[in-house]
Amino acid sequence: MMLKFIVRRLLQLVPVLIGVTFLVFIMLHITPGDPAEVLAGEGATVETIENINERLGLNEPLHQQYLSFLSNAVQFDFGTSWRTGREVSSEIAPRFFVTLELAIYSTILSVFLGVIAGVISAVRRYSLTDVTIMLVALFGLSMPNFWLGLMLMQWFAVKLDWLPATGWGSGSQVILPVIALGTAGAAIIARMTRSSMLEIISQDYIRTARAKGVTEKVVIYRHALRNAMIPVVTVVGLQFGYLLGGAVLTETVFAINGLGRLVVDRIASRDFPVIQASILVIASLFVFVNVLVDISYRILNKRIDLD
C-alpha cells in the first residue's frame, strides 16, 4: 500500500513538472532583453545577432522551441550552455550538490535547534525560559539571512578570525553559512513545535499517560512529541524547499558557488538552457521532498490515510 502510494505520488510529479517547464519557458521569453543581443555583446552588427538567433533556434515559433526543449528534457538532454558552450548537466551538477549540501545541513540545524527549543518552551510555558526562547526566535525569524551572514562574518571571520569568511568545502567553511541560513528555519520550527506541543499536552491521552505513572520525560517524548511533530514536519518540508531556491543571498554573501548563484548569474546573461534546467531540478526536488513529507505523516501517525 505504501509502495502504491509512492508510485502514484511520483507519477503525479509529471504534470507538475511539465507545468513548471512551461511557466519558466514563458517567463524567460516574455522578459525583455534579447538573448542574442546579450550574447553578441555591445556594438555587435545586426548580422551577427541574426546569426546567433539562427544558431540557437530563436527564430523558430515559440511553441516549436518549447516542444523541442520538452522532448529533449524528457531524455535528460538539456543542451549546452549558450554562454560557455559546456553541457548544461555538467554546469549544474557540481553547483547543485553544493546547494543541496547547504540546504541539508541548514535543515538539520533548524530541526535540531527548533524542536529542542520548542519543546522546552512548551514544557515551561510562560516561564522566563519560554519568554526568552520565543523572543530569540522572533528575532531569528525577523533577521534577513544575508544580514545575519554578514554579521557572523564580521565577528567570527574578521574580528575573531576563528572561521573562514568565504568559500565552501572544508568543515570550517560550512559553519557560518549554515548558521546564517538555518537560523530563520530554527525560529519557525521552534514556534511551530511550541504551539503544537501545547495543543497536544492538553489532550486526554496525555492525562492517561500520566495516570499510568510514567515520568514526565516519557510523557513529553513518547506521548506528546510524536503527535506534535506532524505540523512541524510540514514546515520542515517547506523550509527545505525554500532553502533550495532561496539560498542565493547567503551563497552570494559567502561566495559559495551554489545553484542559486548560478541561476542569478545566468539570468543576467540570458543563458536559457541553464536557467530552465536549474529551475526544473529545484522544482523536482521540492516536489519530491513534499512526497517525503506525506510519507512521514503516515509513519508518524498510522491513522493518516494516504489515499
Binding site: D204, R207, T208, K212, G213, V214, H223, K302, R303
Partner: protein, 341 residues
C-alpha cells in the same frame, strides 16, 4: 462511619486560582470514604466537583488547579504529602483511573499492545515475553476477542466500547487496589454502557478491588454501587448506602435528583426537574449551597452553611432539617415528596 476503608477523604479542598480576585472552589471541603472491596458511587451534576475530586486523588489536576487543604488517606497514608516520584509509583499501580472519553483517551500513534505493556513495564519487572503475555491476558480479561491480533492495532481501528475495554485493561495492568472510573460509560451507546458496567463489576468480584465510580446517572448507581456520595456545588450533601439512598433519601437535592428520573414502574405525565440552576462558582451562596433551589429553605439555610451530620450508621446528610437548630416546619419530611410507586 467506621468501615475498613481503602480510601478516606477528609475535608478536601481543590481550588482553581483564575487571578488574584477570582478563585473557583471546585472542590470545597469534600469528605467520604471508599470501603474496601466495595463500590462507591459519586453522583452530581456537571460542575459539582466529582471529576476534580477524582483527579485530586491521583494529583492529575491541570493548571491552575491545586489542592489547598484536607487529607486523602489511601490505606492510611496521606497522598497529599507524597512526593512526585512517590505518587508516580501509586498511579497506574495501586490506584488506576479510567476516563469518560475512550475515543480520545488512548494515544493515536502507539499500538494498543504498547500502551498496555507500558503500564506493566513501569510497575513490574517483567521480561519482554512475559510482558507481552500479560498484555494478551489482560485483553482477554476485558473481553477483547483475538487479542494477539489486537495488540498490533492502533486505537483508530477499534470502536468506542473496545477502546474503553482497552482503557480498563491498562488500568488493571498492575492489579490496582482502587479503580477510579470517571463517567466510564457516558460517551458510549446504551447497550455498550451496560456491557462496560457489567465488566467492571465482574472484574471487581474477580480481583477484589475497590471502585470509585463517578457518574451523573442514578440508574448506574442503583445497579453497580454499594455506597453513594451525592455532590452538589463542590460539597458532599449526602452519603449513604445505596438502598437507603433510594428508599429514604434525606437531602432535598437527592430527592430532587430522584424525582427528575424517568421511571417505568409508575405512570408519569412529565418529569419533575429541579427548579433553578447550579450556582456560579464565582457567586456561591453564603449558606447552604442548595438553598436557592430548595423548596424547604428557611432563613437559617440561606445564612449558615450546614455541616455533614451523621444521621445514623450508614447515612450522612448536609441539611439543617435534621438538626436541633432547624427553625422551619417541624413536621417536614423531605422523603414524602419522593414519587414512590
Amino acid at each position: 462511619m467506621d468501615h475498613d476503608s481503602i480510601l478516606k477523604i477528609n475535608d478536601l479542598k481543590t481550588y482553581f486560582k483564575i487571578d488574584d480576585q477570582k478563585v473557583v472552589k471546585a472542590v470545597d471541603g469534600v469528605s467520604f470514604e471508599v470501603p474496601k472491596g466495595k463500590t462507591l458511587g459519586i453522583v452530581g451534576e456537571s460542575g459539582s466537583g466529582k471529576s476534580i475530586t477524582a483527579l485530586s486523588i491521583l494529583q492529575l489536576l491541570d493548571e491552575p488547579g491545586e489542592i489547598v487543604g484536607g487529607e486523602i488517606l489511601f490505606n492510611g497514608d496521606n497522598l497529599i504529602e507524597k512526593s512526585i516520584p512517590e505518587m508516580r509509583k501509586i498511579r497506574g499501580n495501586q490506584i488506576s483511573m479510567i476516563f469518560q472519553e475512550p475515543m480520545t483517551s488512548l494515544n493515536p500513534v502507539h499500538t494498543i499492545g504498547n500502551q498496555i505493556s507500558e503500564t506493566i513495564d513501569i510497575h513490574q519487572k517483567l521480561s519482554r515475553t512475559e510482558s507481552k503475555k500479560k498484555t494478551i491476558e489482560l485483553l482477554e480479561l476485558v473481553g477483547i476477542p483475538s487479542p494477539e491480533k489486537r495488540i498490533k492495532q492502533y486505537p483508530f481501528e477499534l470502536s468506542g466500547g473496545m477502546r474503553q475495554r482497552v482503557m480498563i485493561a491498562i488500568a488493571l495492568a498492575s492489579n490496582p487496589e482502587l479503580l477510579i472510573a470517571d463517567e466510564p460509560t457516558t460517551a458510549l451507546d446504551v447497550t455498550i454502557q451496560a456491557q462496560i458496567l457489567e465488566l467492571i463489576k465482574d472484574l471487581q468480584d474477580q480481583l477484589g478491588m475497590s471502585v470509585m465510580l463517578i457518574t451523573h446517572d442514578l440508574g448506574v448507581v442503583a445497579e453497580t454501587c454499594d455506597y453513594v456520595a451525592v455532590m452538589y456545588a463542590g460539597k458532599v450533601v449526602e452519603y449513604s448506602d445505596v438502598e437507603t439512598l433510594f428508599e429514604d433519601p434525606k437531602h432535598p437535592y437527592t430527592v430532587g435528583l430522584l424525582n427528575s428520573l424517568p421511571r417505568h414502574d409508575i405512570k408519569q405525565e412529565e418529569l419533575t426537574p429541579i427548579d433553578g440552576m447550579v450556582p456560579s462558582p464565582f457567586e456561591m451562596p453564603v449558606g447552604c449551597r442548595f438553598a436557592p433551589r430548595c423548596p424547604h429553605a428557611t432563613d437559617l439555610c440561606r445564612e449558615k452553611l450546614p455541616s455533614l451530620w451523621e444521621l445514623n450508621k450508614d447515612q450522612e446528610v448536609r441539611c439543617w432539617i435534621y438538626t436541633e437548630e432547624w427553625d422551619g416546619d417541624q413536621e417536614v419530611k423531605v422523603s414524602d415528596s419522593l414519587n414512590l410507586a
